[in-house]
Symmetry: C2
Subunit: 352 residues, 2 copies
DNA sequence: TTGTATGCGTTATCAC
DNA sequence: GTGATAACGCATACAA
């Protein structure tokens, strides 16, 4: 195969000419429709010689299907979304769909843009995971002419499939676990309360304490942001205010890693002095030392479920919107149970 | 905005009818071409009422541009590729391109498929990062009618822009560092030698020792695979064979994490007894404890450079193929220098 | 079985 | 300035 000179590629017209048949015959052969042996031979030979490849755009215009699906994540830097992505990709690929990625940086306008752009029909469906769901989201969702699966919570009645985590139960699992270990001064290190996860996890913490009969203490709640450095700063403040805290319920793994840094720097042992729990069970939880007990909210499962739901819609299923809730799971590691197995090998991790 | 009944969306024909003008006028207005005030008003009103959105497929067929770019990574589970992705995405987005993701699982046939599928013209360009470059790659690359940027090494004369890491210098930096710390029994824990990185890093290790005047000792080289569990297994074997090793040069971060696990389990202190260096400087390196000294091969920079190179091509630049080499950088953390700053906050990490 | 002709939704080139 | 009309590349209903 010598270096093909750039320029316009061959079309079915080129082939038709070369093979001495009509474009209809070319199309038929290429689509496996019944044709005479000789015609088929000529067409395939011409196609081969010319290095013909079907133009996906023209084909989409005709068929009204692009074989593309979009995934809109709030933040491409967030390992939790990447975990979803890792599951979504192979499912779609196996079904013959390409994946178009959008990172909206949790900007509402960007998310609305993505929904609006569905009208451009460059994808057959969308999976989206918004950080918060506004009225604008719901309007655009209602107007969408393309199947959409939302990872996160949407109000009942929304015309979109919905895959949810259950962070309420998740926090409960964690707090119960800490309580069972004998911890009684369990603090909460949360992210901003105006985000969906922040609000949900904060409320769940309060509920969990209540059910355990533990008093709720404002001093034990520290708001920061969902990043490692912010988490560290928040925990430093917390320790200054409440030195005798014996457990930290962190609203995500990054915060928890920041917590480990600060606890270590302050000379506290984990978990002996302070037990730490994160959320999302990202790769980082298994990598840290001590390895981090974390509440898995099923990022991977949610991604997979969303992809499968969407595929069903793409196959023509137009039944009522579905709701899938993925149960949380507490993954106990060293940060709450020092002498238990670390379990760093229980997750698939990429190589090279 | 009431729930729009599903069905075919409006086209410029619908608008033309509604506005009482021709489709040509509609197109003009929509494209900002000079039109009478009144026409413009009618068209825009109709478009607004109908909730019109341009059909991207039809537009692409006509314009021969899809405003999509593909990124083909060897393994979506690998943090190093995700680091590239995180840089590529915003660059393309800012330039108005969508990102189509392919994970080829390092299967050569899949990679060739991706190259071949460029002929379908569903993307305007491609960034790919193959684990190895075969003749089949080069042939498909030569036949490509679309700009391609390869992250990795391609032979001179290949008609594709090329962004390279310099793992040779990278290994050298690491080995020099270990040597400077007084280590003399420096082992290499590598991945398979039939991969490009495996081969390059293995050779570089040998070279580095030579330049330092250290003897090369087969016993100090252990081949495993580029995963954490494999790395752990390899290091266990190594320790059994060479108990007095005082430094480990690991071919990537995952291997290094596995090494930390095993060293810890064997009662060795890091870095006091054994210093450990990883490669790729992934997020995991900063998260682990002790935090991991790692050679950054500039995954992020390479991704960014690749995206920018591709954008230049998409803007029409058809000059000779470019070669960009990103210099490696040693990021010293606790696994080789116990009392230095951990620096866990020097990298941007995702939140929530 | 095969060819002719039409449409998918846009953009662009003409005359008017 | 505006309206017919012809592509873009493919699939297909219909006629032959």
């Amino acid at each position: 195969m010598e270096g093909t000179p750039l320029g316009d590629g061959p079309t079915i017209n080129t082939i038709a000419e070369r093979a001495g048949v009509s474009i209809a015959s070319v199309s038929r052969v290429l689509n496996g429709l019944p044709t005479r042996r000789e015609t088929e031979r000529k067409v395939l030979a011409a196609a081969e010689e010319l290095g013909y490849v079907r133009n996906a755009v023209a084909r989409s215009l005709k068929s009204r299907r692009t074989h593309q699906v979009a995934f809109a994540m709030a933040d491409i830097g967030n390992p939790a979304y990447l975990a979803m992505l890792r599951e979504i990709q192979p499912v779609l690929k196996a079904a013959g769909y390409r994946l178009v990625l959008h990172s909206t940086d949790a900007v509402v306008a960007d998310e609305i843009d993505v929904l609006h752009s569905l009208g451009e029909r460059y994808v057959d469906g969308l999976i989206m995971s918004p950080l918060r769901v506004t009225d604008a989201h719901l309007e655009s969702l209602a107007a969408a002419r393309t199947p959409v699966v939302v990872i996160g919570s949407v109000p009942e009645g929304t015309r979109a499939d919905n895959v949810r985590a259950d962070s309420r139960t998740g926090v409960r699992l964690a707090v119960d676990h800490l309580h069972a270990l004998g911890r009684r001064r369990i603090a909460m290190v949360n992210g901003p309360l105006d985000t969906v996860p922040g609000a949900a996890r904060g409320a769940a913490y309060r509920e969990a304490l209540e059910e355990l009969g533990l008093p709720y203490d404002d001093d034990l709640v520290q708001i920061g942001d969902f990043y490692r450095a912010e988490g560290a700063r928040a925990v430093a403040e917390l320790l200054a205010r409440v030195p005798d805290v014996d457990a930290l319920m962190c609203a995500n793994d990054l915060i928890a890693l920041g917590a480990l840094d600060v606890l270590r720097a302050s000379g506290r042992r984990v978990p002996d002095d302070v037990a730490v729990v994160g959320m999302d069970d990202t790769d980082l939880a298994a990598a840290s030392w001590p390895s981090l007990t974390s509440v898995s909210l099923g990022s991977a499962e949610r991604g997979k479920a969303a992809a499968e739901l969407l595929l069903q819609r793409l196959r023509g299923d137009d039944s009522a919107p579905r709701l899938v809730t993925v149960p949380p799971r507490l993954v106990v590691r060293a940060s709450t149970a020092g002498n238990r197995a670390d379990g760093p090998y229980d997750r698939k991790e990429g190589g090279v």
